[in-house]
Amino acid sequence: MSETNNQTAAGSAGTTPPILEVRDYSLTYGGPEQGVKVLDDINLTIRRGETLGLVGESGSGKSSLAWAIMRYLPALATESDGAILLSGENLRSKSQYQMLDIRGRRIAMVFQDPSMSLNPTLRLGEQLSEVLIRHRGLSLQQAWKEGEAALARTGITRPAEMMKRYPHEASGGEKQRVVIATALACSPELIIFDEPTTALDVITARQILQLFETLREETDVSALYISHDLGLVSRIAPRVAVIHRGVIVEQGQCAEVFRDPREAYTRRLLAALPRPDRWLGVDQPATGAAPLLETQALNVRYGGPSLLDRITGSAKQAVDGAIDVALGVRPGELLGVVGESGSGKSTVAKVLSGLQDFRGTVRFDGRGFVRRRDFDRRYRRAVQVIFQHPDSSLNPRQTIGQILSRPLKLYGLVPAAQRPAKVAELLEKVLLPADYARRYPHQLSGGEKQRVAIARAFAAQPRLVICDEITSSLDVSVQASIARLMVGLQAETGTACIFITHDLNLVRQLAHRIAVMQHGRLVDLFDTPDAEAPERHPYTRALLEAVTPPPVVAEAPVDDLEGTGP
């Protein structure tokens, strides 16, 4: 069945046959004429025990390739010639019925979001043992025992207990460990990892990566590791393939590709990676100035028991979104706020943009606010917010022109006759063509939409802009341009900025000071150059250690990166 080693790859000097070989493979969605070509002439090889990193941005076809290998393609996909060989067997000639036996047993897959890939109504143990029962024919008891052993191997401290839990009773990291244990359960020849750490927090992601490295050494499994993060891939995979619009533009040893990228696209990707040692931000403003905005003993509590809960006596616990947060932003400064999800960084953004009730005091420009209702239009004009998701931050039924002229009208900044000219000027400022004013948001790409959101915030001529994870749902290359745009506008207008992010590499390039939040508290606040100083809070150090440093490039391309050190 599986012992078909007679078909060794031609020209390979190695003694081991490749586990996975994709040869001249192309894939089109839609008809052969007007269809979209997602994969074009793909060639790649993975040997036993080897990890190949597949790097590409969204829409590059990297996930389509994973599904093609799994033989799980939508009905409208048309494949041209080419072969997908697993240990020499062509998977393209297998029927869907035969593939059922191969999936999970010989090829396993680990997905991005463990909370989506586990069935919420089944215990973790049931989901893990199901694979063993199905593919290895074990009895339920045997499978359960094996499952516990498999969980123990993934570093879960009490596997027996974890087997009995439901997905919602486990943390994101634990769930991803269960998914990895399930993937490894039948000792497959190949595991496809599809961005397995993207949905996890930095520190958890780091632990999952370490687990991946340990398991790879122990089990000798081959892996295809799909990611958008070049830095991460360079750490875990010795070989990398860069995919761009369905074409593998560059493939080779990580060290070589990163030291001397041959393709312009790879160079662009590398240049876009945030590097803490390369300063992008504006010059440090005067440190002696009085803070523009200040919070004192800021507290936010979510979901206390309602009247009904109190009557019925059900004990519903309130969650603290922010506890005694005291922050200050100086005029013209960029303050970075970092922390994991649930650390309270977005709560602070919501309070400051007047979207969340709070206790405590917010002082802005000499005025004090103690309730959400106190924020008047004058404050709201001076403090603008930009959200994370460009897709949902623009009203789909308004044109870009309407969206951008609204703040001009609302705050009475520009008379009606001059608004179109002002809109054109705003669009130009964010490097978009003026005729975009007539377009609707869905006609724009994610990065373009985020530029419009930035233009809308700056249309109000604010004194402080709150950026809530504005780069995190964008591709790496777009992220860099958005960050540069923000800094450019900041330099031009002198606006202060609160930049909330989980990307420490990026924030160290932009921020003058960095605030670190954990469980709703502000645990650390320091000047950016002191990031590695020994007196940092342990949590700050843990965050910094968890971040993957960008791959070393011999010579940083000096294109349009200006700026002096802070």
Partner: protein, 272 residues
């Protein structure tokens, strides 16, 4: 927005609506005979050259009666739906925007009404108010209100937490602007679609009320009433039941198919 007539169901639905619409607007002038005129020699006939869809127990021309009945039947459906949608949308939007206890109180009451089936609810109201077209229309509108309120509320709730609405709140926009310009235009899609589909239910409930003698009264040519009157003669001339029955079904189907197609084309992401 792309035309809803591009799709196959949209095309069929549009065609049916065109036929029904022409009948409703011009029916009385297109009818070959007076709908109340007796032709004693040709009672209970099947289709013939003189009477295309046959005649009833008094020898009245069924086609003429059908065409004369079209306006009342179709406008009953549209009128009842418009009233119900308007009332339901207002209630639903208030509940969705206000939130907290206002939402809870309104929705619990609405849930209570939803527990009663539409037809039973309508019958109850007609019994209290008394029969007749006007009352029947009001009754259907009231029966539709709770369901529409629920749909409007859920549409508002899903829009209310979008970041563009948050952005408007953060900008300091008035509630009127936020509801009118940011929330409603994006929440209207599901409401319009549901309304279109509900016209077909309204037509059927109206016909049912007519059939039960609680809606239009003889000698009206309302389609439901035509079916009711034909019931006794069903075995002597099945055409009397079949013809108005099919007319009701086609009108209902037209609105239904068109509503489905409208939902697809109102999805902004697929258009412009």
């Amino acid at each position: 927005m792309t035309s809803p007539f591009r799709s196959y169901p949209g095309m069929v639905g549009g065609l049916l609506l065109l036929i029904v619409g022409v009948a409703a607007l011009f029916g009385p002038w297109l009818a070959p005979y007076d709908p109340q005129q007796f032709h004693p020699q040709v009672r209970l006939q099947g289709p013939s050259a003189a009477h295309w869809l046959g005649t009833d127990q008094f020898g009245r021309d069924i086609l003429s009666r059908l065409l004369h009945g079209a306006p009342s039947t179709v406008f009953f459906g549209i009128g009842a739906t418009l009233l119900g949608v308007a009332a339901g949308t207002i209630i639903g939007v208030i509940a969705g925007v206000a939130g907290r206890w206002v939402d809870s109180v309104i929705m619990r009451i609405i849930d209570g009404f939803l527990a009663v089936p539409d037809l039973l609810f309508t019958l109850l109201i007609v019994t209290i108010l008394g029969g007749g077209m006007g009352h029947a229309m009001l009754a259907v509108a009231v029966a539709f209100t709770p369901g529409m309120a629920r749909i409007a509320r859920s549409a508002v709730l899903s829009i209310r937490t979008r970041e563009y609405v948050l952005a408007a709140v953060a900008r300091g926009e008035s509630s009127v602007y936020i509801v009118g310009r940011e929330v409603m235009p994006n929440a209207m899609g599901p409401i319009i679609v549901e309304a279109t589909i509900r016209v077909s239910f309204a037509i059927m409930i109206g016909a049912t009320l007519g059939f039960l003698g609680l809606g239009a009264q003889p000698p009206s040519t309302e389609w439901g009433l035509m079916v009711a009157e034909a019931r006794q003669f069903m075995f002597r001339n099945p055409w009397m039941v079949v013809v108005p029955g099919i007319a009701i079904a086609l009108a209902a189907m037209g609105f239904n198919l068109f509503g489905d197609a409208l939902r697809d084309s109102l999805d902004v992401r697929r258009s412009h």
